[in-house]
């Protein structure tokens, strides 16, 4: 399978959006592009499984490499493993749903969809890159559109939020860049940005210990690493609905993926040295994020803070450095991506109708919006880790994997993180109990339920949540061979490093 298609289709879609005239045409083109990409991502899954079943045991398959700046060791090199495939499917789901929920955007429709597609292009490119320079390039492609999406189509303190988000993510990018250069110059004889080549080299331990914190913190900012998480609430809350969905569903996952693929995979000794720090920060983010969520009155702020808590699980799983925990971290990325996108979509639908996002101003909406509130129930229950939905699978995998580490420190971190499931239940039920249940205020009596495009988006994401929650085997068997290879690398380098 030709991975370049994954970049080409968004590019063609973007071009077509640019060429067509009416908003309706723009929507249809964007939808068609997203749909093709959606089908393609499943084609990729099938092809990947076939290739693996056929005995292809390379770490990355479907590789293609074109020279770009040979003198600097930069090439346009792409390829995927199970983790990347999972992230690509996640992206395809969210892009599709994002296009659908934005159906009624009237302000500068063309530019809006153009930016959405551009953002997805950055994400797809990021997930298939096997060259650090290319990876960095796509990371930046995925940042810039966010600034515009929030600044132009946002609400509330949008300029502040957009600026804060862009600056903090740029800081992350800068750290990543420095870390990458450190690896480049410190890696030994063959100076290269190639991920596959670097993974085969023995990078000196001192270099690893300097570069790992830079890379991990850099990517960590994207995935709301405590204490660099404060762009999340403001950014998500000011963004338009599809923007929030992309931010929480895709952008935050770029960070987690980067941490795993670049920082941990290339610098296993660094990961071992800093694993405990990561665990502490993750546990703080999980519990402290959950407590901070309890206080939020605005639905979007609530979901944004809860994302900090949930993404903490990703970092916890990575910090634990056991195969099961790493698998859980990837599952949590996929699960949280779908779930939070759906949550933001539902909040958007509620806001469009009630013109408020304040939890206290809503009430009893189940009577007038049975569909929307049912989806809200499902999302909320997924967030609090109800079995049968994706959150449970991911969190339990992380807990089980983390518990494999003996020692009170790790056990304490798991217990602290487990506590969040109670706090999560509190804030989720409070929100659901107020928004969907209780008496219906008079001014909401004439509101209508979801339109077809909203239903389509919700059903799509709900299907994703259920597909993982009810039958997690497919995701587990996709991801765990890849995490096993990462673990082999980590275990191989354990000698000589404390």
């Amino acid at each position: 399978m030709n991975l370049l298609l994954l970049i080409l289709i968004p590019l063609v879609t973007a071009l077509a959006i640019w060429l067509v005239r009416t908003p309706q045409q723009v929507r249809l083109v964007a939808f068609a592009g997203a749909a093709v990409q959606f089908a393609l991502s499943f084609g990729l899954l099938g092809a990947y499984r076939l290739a693996r079943a056929g005995g292809n045991s390379q770490v990355f398959i479907f590789q293609q490499q074109y020279q770009w700046f040979p003198s600097w060791g930069i090439s346009f090199h792409v390829g995927v493993d199970g983790i990347a495939v999972a992230m690509i499917i996640l992206t395809a789901f969210i892009v599709m749903a994002g296009v659908l929920v934005s159906w009624t955007v009237t302000k500068m429709t063309k530019e809006f969809y153009l930016l959405l597609i551009l953002l997805s292009l950055g994400a797809y490119g990021f997930f298939i890159s096997l060259d650090l320079f290319v990876l960095f390039f796509f990371l930046e492609v995925a940042v810039i559109p966010k600034y515009l999406l929030i600044g132009i189509w946002g609400s509330g303190k949008k300029e502040y939020a957009a600026g804060k988000l862009a600056l903090m993510l740029m800081l992350g990018s800068a750290l990543v860049l420095v870390g990458m250069l450190g690896m480049y110059f410190g890696s030994g004889a063959d100076k290269t940005f190639n991920l596959v080549a670097l993974s085969g080299q023995a990078i000196p331990a001192t270099v690893q210990q300097i570069c790992f914190p830079l890379l991990f913190a850099g990517f960590g900012i994207f995935t709301a690493l405590f204490p660099f998480h404060t762009w999340v609430p403001d950014g998500h809350s000011s963004a338009p609905t599809a923007g929030s969905m992309f931010l929480a569903g895709i952008s935050m996952k770029l960070g987690g993926y980067g941490c795993l693929r670049v920082a941990v995979y290339l610098l296993p000794a660094g990961a071992k040295a800093y694993g405990d720090v990561v665990i502490v920060l993750a546990a703080i983010a999980i519990l402290y994020g959950a407590f901070a969520t309890m206080l939020q009155r605005d639905l979007k702020y609530m979901n944004a803070y809860s994302s900090i808590s949930h993404c903490g699980f990703v970092l916890l799983g990575i910090g634990m450095l056991t195969q099961t925990a790493l698998t859980g971290a990837v599952m949590q990325m996929v699960s949280h991506g779908v779930m939070t996108a759906l949550f933001f979509a539902v909040i958007g639908m509620l806001y469009q109708r009630t013109h408020t996002r304040q939890i206290n101003e809503m009430g009893g909406l189940m009577r007038v919006m049975p569909f929307i509130t049912t989806v809200l129930f499902f999302t909320g229950l997924c967030s609090l880790g109800l079995p049968g939905l994706s959150g449970f699978v991911a969190e339990m995998t992380i807990f089980t994997g983390s518990w494999q580490n003996p020692g009170s420190f790790y056990r304490a971190a798991v217990i602290v993180s487990c506590m969040s499931i109670v706090v999560t239940a509190v804030y989720i039920l409070r929100a659901i109990g107020k928004v969907a249940m209780g008496p219906l205020p008079k001014q909401f009596e004439l509101l209508t339920d979801a339109a077809w495009y909203e239903k389509a988006a919700a059903v799509l994401l709900l299907a994703g949540i259920l597909a993982i929650g009810l039958a997690p085997g497919w995701l587990n068997s996709l991801v765990s061979p890849a995490t096993e290879l990462i673990m082999q690398k980590i275990n191989a380098t354990s000698a000589g490093i404390k």
């Binding site: 309890m294 206080l295 698998t327 009893g364 109670v422």
Partner: protein, 642 residues
């Protein structure tokens, strides 16, 4: 050998009801939802009874021992070698017994609801939730894997949430639903960590493996797990204690009981099914399921025993003071579950010492029948007088003769009067307690007397006394309401005669339950005394109850206020957790963490404001900087030279 498909169907039929009615109930089956659900549950009940019959009488018993028969296993999620969640089904005496109870009570509730919820526009939703609950409960009792059990454990929790909050426009119902979910979730935190502890000691989530590895003192895993580890307590003790925390939450044991009385906000048939007969005994079931592992830690078994006994007497005292008929029944449920729990706690493993185990399961069985009956009868009464409060009831035996009859049977059963069902199971529990632990025995004896008293207080206040209003109502409800009452009434009379020790024992062998007439005299006399006192106080309106309450003084007040446990919880959650943890967390995030971000942003802007004048584009200014720079450098170099 059992037919796996049939056993799977038992659980899948209620699931089918949930999916069918959940997706299309409103559009396609708004009129027929109840009938569809009832038919599906009826089919499930017949299959379940057929399976239980086959298990107990055809293939379950090999050479005098009831076997654990694993039926089916599907690797649902595999974490690492050994550690995987295998969805499976296991048939053994307790799961087969639950197959008799759960679908039957569910069926009774379905039939009863056909009349009780007639005209409810959200009927389809109601039956969908009931289907979800029945599915989850069946999945729970059939689970072969502890993580699978946790899976269904959470699902019964959420269906309980949905059903308590069924009247979602009532703020009190929403609050009760949230409370039930959150309190049990807190308990489940313990359960989850307990699972992690136990499974990592046994390197499996499978019940059979866990019990085989940890339940046998000869096993290396058990020996290392019972060695003291954290805070002087062994890993195994921590594990089972934490698992018990989950069980105590679900079964409304002290101090995690606070959700159960509030859960009575749900429709009354739901209370009968979930909050009386089935879900609340899940904690007892869990302890029974892992009993061999629990028995490796005598300290935790003591904890189980004293928690159970304490809850039994505590709830019985409160029940004497409540005026809402459903709340009295709720506290009585808690009290009776306390009996089951301490019976497990005092039980031994071998021979006659294992009587407590069988007695506990026996009581679970009989209690399901008479407590479901009490709740359904209470539903009829509430339906008739349109109030939950005893003060609005009186002399109802004239108006509801059938309900009166079955209610009396259920009261006699719970009070432990022979030959009704509760007598036999309670005698077995008391006998076990008498042999194992005298403190608990006397507590239980006292509680039995109290039970008779408060149940007959309820009985006399409702059915005797004076008519409170002209109940211009519609009789006792149709056949759909009376049939379940009558069937459960028969069960409450007959269930005690089942030779339970022949079927449900810890090791699968026969453990005959003897009736010691001499031993039974005291409890029965005490129960009769309780009834007599209740009759003296409440049969006719008089001033004695008020005088008694005044005589009891502040103790009465404390009991009537449920010993202020709710207030204590409110204090801890609102004042301590919310104000001292959540609020500071949010404040720190906004002001300190984000403050630093904003500060660094603002100071960068400020700094650039300050220094932007330096790049003014004026050549003269640059020349000045240049000169000053040269001079400074010159001075520095000259100074350094020296």
């Amino acid at each position: 050998m059992p037919n796996t498909t049939l056993v799977l169907l038992i659980a899948l039929l209620p699931l089918a009801a949930f999916i069918l009615l959940g997706l299309w109930g409103k559009k396609l089956f708004s009129q027929s939802a109840g009938v569809i659900a009832t038919v599906l549950i009826l089919a499930a009940t017949m299959l379940a009874w057929y399976t239980a019959y086959k298990y107990f009488f055809v293939y379950g018993n090999t050479a005098g021992i009831y076997q654990k028969i694993p039926l089916f296993s599907y690797s649902w999620l595999s974490f690492s070698p050994g550690m995987s969640i295998d969805m499976g089904i296991v048939l053994d005496p307790i799961s087969a017994m639950m197959l008799v109870v759960v679908p039957f009570i569910s069926l009774m509730v379905h039939v009863y609801s056909l009349a009780y919820l007639k005209g409810e526009e959200r009927g389809a939703v109601y039956y969908a939730y009931l289907g979800l609950f029945t599915f989850a409960m069946l999945g729970l009792v059939l689970s072969a894997n502890i993580f699978q059990l946790y899976f269904f454990w959470e699902l019964v929790g959420v269906s309980s949430f949905l059903l308590i909050g069924f009247y979602y426009q009532k703020p009190s119902a929403v609050a009760a639903a949230k409370k039930a979910f959150i309190v049990t979730r807190f308990a489940d935190l313990g359960f989850l960590i307990g699972i992690l502890v136990l499974s990592s000691s046994a390197n499996s989530f499978d019940f059979a493996t866990i019990i085989q590895q940890l339940g046998n003192p000869q096993q290396a895993a058990a020996q290392s797990a019972t060695a003291a580890s954290f805070m002087g307590i062994s890993a195994l003790s921590w594990g089972v204690a934490l698992v018990f925390m989950g069980g105590a939450g679900k079964s409304a044991m002290l101090p995690l009981h606070i959700w159960l009385p509030d859960a009575m906000e749900g429709p009354t048939p739901v209370s009968a099914l979930i909050h009386a007969a089935t879900m609340v005994v899940a904690g007892v079931f869990l302890v029974a399921r892992l009993f061999l592992v629990f028995s490796m830690s005598p300290a935790v078994l003591q904890l189980v025993a004293y928690t159970g006994a304490g809850s039994a007497v505590f709830a019985a005292i409160i029940a004497c003071t409540q005026t809402d008929i459903k709340r009295v029944l709720a506290y009585s449920t808690m009290s009776q579950i306390g009996f089951m729990m301490f019976a497990l706690g005092i039980s031994g493993k071998e021979g006659d010492a294992a009587l407590g185990y069988t007695a506990s399961m026996f009581h679970l069985f009989t209690h399901a029948m008479f407590k479901a009956l009490l709740f359904l009868a209470a539903g009829s009464i509430i339906h008739f007088v349109h109030s939950n409060h005893m003060s609005n009831m009186g002399n109802l035996r004239k108006y509801m003769p059938v309900t009166h009859g079955v209610f009396l049977i259920a009261c006699l059963a719970i009070a432990g009067i022979p030959p009704f069902a509760g007598f036999f199971s309670k005698e077995a529990i008391l006998l076990a307690a008498f042999e194992q632990n005298k403190i608990i025995f006397y507590t239980a004896l006292f509680t039995s007397g109290l039970t008779a008293f408060y149940m007959f207080r309820l009985y006399f206040k409702i059915f005797w006394g004076t008519t409170q209003s002209d109940y211009h109502s519609h009789g006792e409800g149709g056949a759909a309401m009376l049939l379940p009452l009558l069937l459960l009434g028969v069960a409450s009379c007959a269930a005690g005669f089942i030779p339970f020790g022949n079927y449900v024992t810890l090791n699968g062998a026969v453990l005959p339950l003897h009736l010691h007439i001499g031993f039974s005299v005291a409890p029965v006399l005490l129960a009769l005394a309780g009834i007599a006192v209740a009759a003296w106080l409440y049969k006719k309106a008089n001033s004695r109850p008020a005088k008694l309450a005044a005589f009891m003084g502040s103790f009465y007040k404390w009991a009537a206020h449920k010993f202020y446990v709710d207030e204590l919880y409110n204090y801890v959650t609102q004042k301590i957790i919310f104000n001292l943890i959540a609020k500071p967390a949010a404040w720190i995030d906004k002001n300190v963490v984000d403050g630093l971000v904003n500060f660094s942003g603002n100071s960068t802007v400020l700094a650039s404001e300050k220094i932007k004048g330096w790049q003014s584009g004026k050549v003269q200014q640059y020349a000045t900087y240049f000169l000053v720079g040269i001079v400074v450098l010159a001075v520095v170099f000259i100074y350094l030279r020296k």
